[in-house]
């Protein structure tokens, strides 16, 4: 396979996955405004969304709701917007469409057309729910076509690698962003229920609320949420699960391409780190721990690029 093609497949996977987390975070956070404990905090929530997207803003200036929503959803000039992310996924897929199935290409293209043609006026007023839910459905359909219409060879492996690495990074970012929210609420003297409610939102952003309750059988705490989303090896929205998949995928690629072992070693090391992580070890500096986790993930990304894309 061409090195350039491998690179584009990987980024197709990454951008598709990223777009799903962006749209989910937007929806769950935004609609939390309608719930009582949060109704006084619209400005705070909009800023939380901007933080998670990685958009710069002045903490002391109030923001305009519709401006923020449109900027993050549809500004094609802004590379962090949902529209730009989906466009990037589609442009990468477009350059490799000759190695993927026509059916997969068409569903990716339909996702792009859906975002591009969505009525912005409707979105600003009553369409945000419909828009973000539909975006998630498009991603599910795309993942299903990835799994069910491709040969599970190196082409599929690179897309998968992109998906799981991106998901691990997004989980870390979402946790970090919510932790940051709680710090701000504490500084402002918020009460405990309001702070605890942030962990409900976190679980819902990752569609993890029900599974968390089934496993822990009691209301969520900072500790249970952290454990569940970082080190649970059976839950597909935990960092440990995703890095373990990354490790497996690299092992398979390694066998096919007879590449060096450095990358495999690092992937195994970081994957194990999360599998055997104990909350006690990191609880004193959770933000520092999340930053370090992201650095591990970015390091894997850099090594993948060196190993496969720069031939």
């Amino acid at each position: 396979m061409l090195a350039r093609v491998a690179n584009s497949l990987y980024w197709t996977g990454r951008y598709i996955e990223r777009s799903e987390h962006l749209s989910r975070y937007l929806r769950v956070q935004y609609f939390s405004i309608l719930d009582t404990p949060m109704s006084q905090n619209k400005d705070f929530i909009l800023k939380s969304i901007m933080t998670m997207y990685g958009m710069k803003f002045d903490v002391n200036e109030p923001v305009d709701e519709q401006d923020v929503l449109v900027e993050l959803g549809f500004n094609a000039e802004n590379s962090i917007s949902l529209r730009s992310t989906v466009t990037a996924a589609r442009e990468n897929a477009r350059s490799v469409r000759y190695v993927i199935s026509t059916e997969l290409w068409e569903v990716i293209n339909q996702y792009f057309l859906f975002v591009k043609e969505y009525n912005t006026d409707f979105y600003k007023t009553r369409g945000l729910y419909d828009f973000t839910i539909s975006a998630g459905k498009h991603c599910s359909i795309i993942r299903s076509y990835i799994d069910h219409t491709l040969i599970h060879d190196d082409i599929w492996l690179f897309i998968e690698l992109g998906i799981y690495l991106e998901r691990a990074a997004q989980i870390a970012r979402i946790l970090s962003s919510k932790l940051h929210d709680i710090e701000i609420l504490s500084e402002n003297g918020a009460n405990t229920p309001l702070k605890r409610y942030q962990w409900t939102i976190t679980l819902k952003v990752l569609e993890a609320f029900d599974m968390h309750r089934r496993l822990y059988k009691k209301p969520q705490t900072q500790r249970s949420v952290f454990e569940f989303l970082t080190s649970n090896s059976q839950f597909p929205r935990s960092i440990a699960y995703n890095l373990s998949r990354v490790h497996d995928l690299i092992a398979q690629l390694n066998q096919m391409t007879k590449s060096g072992d450095n990358l495999l070693f690092k992937a195994g090391k970081y994957s194990s780190y999360f599998q055997y992580l104990e909350y006690e070890d990191v609880k004193d500096d959770l933000q520092g721990f999340l930053n370090q986790s992201l650095n591990h993930i970015y390091e894997l990304n850099r090594m993948i690029e060196e190993e496969y894309f720069q031939s």
Binding site: M1, L2, A3, R4, V5, A6, A76, E77, R83, T87, E91, R94, S95, R97, Y98, V99, T102, W105, E106, N109, Q110, L113, K116, D154, T257, K258, Y308, F309, S311
Partner: protein, 487 residues
Amino acid sequence: MVPNNNLFESYSVPEGMLDEVYTQFANSFPAYGMIKDLFHSLSQADFQKLNEYAKLSFLNQGITYAVYDEEAGGTEKIFPFDLFPRIIHQEEWAKLEQGLIQRNLALNMFLKDVYGQQRILKDKVVPSFLVETSPHFCDMMKGFTPVGDIYCHICGTDLIRNKDGNFYVLEDNLRCPSGVSYVLSNRETMRRTLSDIFKMMSVEAVSHYPSMLLQMLESVSPQTEGEPVCVLLTPGQYNSAYYEHSFLAQSMGIDLVEGTDLFVENDTVYMRTIRGPQKVDVVYRRVDDDFMDPEVFRKDSILGVKGIMRAYLAGNVTLVNAPGTGVSDDKAICSFVPDMIRYYLDQEPIISNVPTYICERPDDLKYVLEHLPELVVKPVDMSGGYGVTICDRLNQAELEEVKQKIKAKPRNFIAQPKMMLSVHSTYIEDENCFMPRHIDLRTFTLMGKDQTFVLPGGLTRVALKKGSLIVNSSQGGGSKDTWIVAD
């Protein structure tokens, strides 16, 4: 049958034109009535729904071309597609097919000759100054013979049907002819939208084109052992024909490479893969000669591969089409194809050329200047319908301007009598009904080692603007599915 709509109510064949659906002529297709009946049976709303569905089918498949400088993010447009198919009877087609093969054989022999002994020039059948002054003549090809003696592996010949009912050759495209993917996707869209018609008549298939193309590419590999590695070289995804490049690579199952994916070492072409370098045997390049190798052609090209000509001349890789084939799609040289057929094959041409006046010849120049208002003037080396001047639409001052342009550089121009292209019933969205519009036919001929293949039918291009004779997509043209039907 009483129509359920008024799609054809105001239809009238313009005076003095041949309408392939309505006019009776020697080769007219007798069963167009079945298609009109089908359209008549639909309600206006149902027809519009079908038309929308056809458009959506193209949009979802991503068969679009980019239009720049509009709203942020760029806009993509579909190449307009018309639901009324153009039908050519099998008997007439069989003759055209023979004519196209004959033409390609002669063109190929001509190329071998001009890059070899130049007999045809020495015998003064083709004036040597035309070859010497052609910008597409490639000096490096002199004395080199490609695998199987094949130069023009893929040729796109444009045909038009004149008022007299016969097909004529307008021009040959021997560099990177495009459009074949539309033939295949038009057929796919027709099958998705109007499947009932296919039950009424048996239409010759076109879907085997990619496998014929691959077979041809493999046949010209310099490597005789093992499976040849063929790739398609594209200028990249911002090229207007990128959809076609990607579609062809996918349907042949070969790699779609860009210039930066290839490199040359020891006069051998390799591609960069995740497993290191892999040797390449055949490059179907959709990059023009000028941009192919910065080592010998344009130095500023970033689309090409440095050293690929060295590898080619060393016989280690085959380029499809061969460099320098453009010399025979020079419109002045094209007019000599009938003479080439007589010279090399000792046969009479099966398909005639549109008569052509070569401005570089003093007699022709005189005629052209005296009869300008009756003529169409074309630059010899442009494609895509650019630079074509239809002189009966010009005023005195404009005519004078054209005359000056020709006189300044006669070698750059040819002139042809204005051929009235046939018309065909075409749905015009703004009017919400069918109207007669001018059409032509781009055919596709493949030539490999010991094999030739003509794609049944080809791409019928239609000028959507009323009265326009220019069918190119870049100038407001659309296309129709083209059917070859035996009774």
